[in-house]
């Protein structure tokens, strides 16, 4: 067998480094890095910058690894949906066993290194997050219940809690409320997406709420979760990481979020089809801005406290 025949016998495409990076869902990783960093920096204890950087890197790699495991498991439905057809596995750039090996290897590495760099609680939470996303969400809930995104959202909600655990070594009402904020934000965010990607989910046979219970029920659920979200978002203002800046921001943005949800609730399919899901797409885009700005506001509060610029008297109810 010649060198040339060895090459030809192999798959036509040999993966590049960038293909493996794509398996780690870099866009999701960016959000994880951001929320974990906020959780770490707003905590009352200061962390050495090197330890903070190393810990956030481990959390990001752990999140990426769970993304690779998700792509390994979901390769069949990714190939059906337009949004995911170009992912590395369905497009033939990476094989499924490669994705599994990368996901498992990086999961173990990230958890072990976070245990060494940070502490065992943070490492334990990261391990649970990976397990939750890869096994509970991807393997079990996603294809079996319309509430997949409600419970699966917990996986995305853990990073700020892990960041907080790196700094404090514990769990507190602040980290639980940051968790709740992302947890309750996830369903309306994804249901808005599901409303204008309904055909995709139908084709892939994924039981998203609009597929199983119809769009009217979905719109009602979006409004209900948005009310809950506003309560949690504003409650966070009255903890030791909140303050006047965060309170003002969260109140204003939550009012806009509720208005958007109310508009979706009032619309029906004919109105949505009439303007190509304009309101749904706007609500989806605004939901990303909403979460980002709230976490930036928490960072600003932390900066103000560091320079003693915060309100001298601020009610702390939690």
């Amino acid at each position: 067998m010649t060198d040339a025949s060895c090459i030809n016998d192999r798959q036509e495409y040999d993966a590049e480094f960038g293909d493996y990076v794509e398996l780690l869902k870099p866009r999701v990783m960016r959000l994880v890095i951001f929320t974990a960093a906020v959780g770490l920096f707003v905590a009352p204890n200061s962390v050495h910058p090197v330890i903070a950087f190393a810990s956030i890197l481990c959390i990001a790699i752990g999140a990426g690894a769970s993304g690779a495991l998700n792509m390994w498991w979901d390769a069949d439905i990714d190939a059906v949906m337009k949004r995911t057809q170009n992912r590395p596995i369905p497009s033939g750039r990476v094989t499924r066993p490669e994705a599994l090996a990368l996901g498992l290897g990086l999961s173990g590495l990230a958890v072990m290194m976070l245990g060494l760099f940070g502490n065992l609680l943070a490492a334990g939470l990261l391990a649970f997050t990976i397990f939750f996303y890869a096994v509970v969400y991807s393997m079990w809930l996603k294809r079996s219940t319309p509430h997949n995104i409600v419970i699966g959202g917990a996986a995305g909600a853990f990073p700020p809690m892990i960041g907080w655990a790196v700094a404090t070594g514990g769990v507190s009402v602040e980290s639980l409320l940051m968790f709740a904020l992302i947890f309750i934000w996830t369903p309306p965010h994804f249901w808005a997406l599901a409303l204008f990607r309904n055909e995709d989910y139908k084709a892939a046979n994924i039981p998203m709420l609009p597929v199983t219970n119809g769009t009217i029920t979905t719109r009602r659920h979006i409004l209900a979760y948005s009310i809950l979200l506003a309560i949690v978002a504003i409650a966070l203002a009255f903890t030791q990481i909140g303050g006047a800046v965060y309170f003002t921001t969260s109140t204003l943005l939550s009012a806009l979020f509720l208005y958007g949800a109310y508009r979706l609730w009032q619309r029906d399919d004919s109105a949505a089809l009439g303007d190509d899901f304009h309101a749904e797409k706007r609500f989806f885009g605004f939901s990303i801005l909403y979460l980002t700005v709230l976490f930036v506001a928490l960072l600003i509060e932390s900066g103000l406290r560091a320079f003693d610029l915060g309100f001298a008297v601020w009610p702390m109810w939690f």
């Binding site: 060198d3 040339a4 090459i7 040999d14 993966a15 590049e16 480094f17 050495h48 090197v50 330890i51 950087f53 190393a54 890197l57 290194m113 060494l116 760099f117 502490n119």
Partner: protein
């Protein structure tokens, strides 16, 4: 023999991949070293999680 000297496009791509993996491993070694330095440089009466933690280190001097 001339065919062996000509580099296949696949080899070039693999070289790029190997360099990237090498750099990633190098970065990990550097990071582990940096964290070790930070952890070991903490005074032993401050770092309550250190195996050599001794709350009375200053008093005993």
């Amino acid at each position: 023999m001339s065919g062996i000297h000509k580099e296949h496009e696949l080899h070039q791509r693999r070289r790029g991949r190997n360099i990237a993996v090498g750099l990633a491993l190098g970065a990990m070694v550097a990071l582990t070293f940096a964290v070790s330095m930070v952890k070991l440089s903490k005074p032993q009466d401050v770092d309550t999680t250190a195996p050599n933690y001794s709350p009375n280190a200053e008093a005993s001097e």
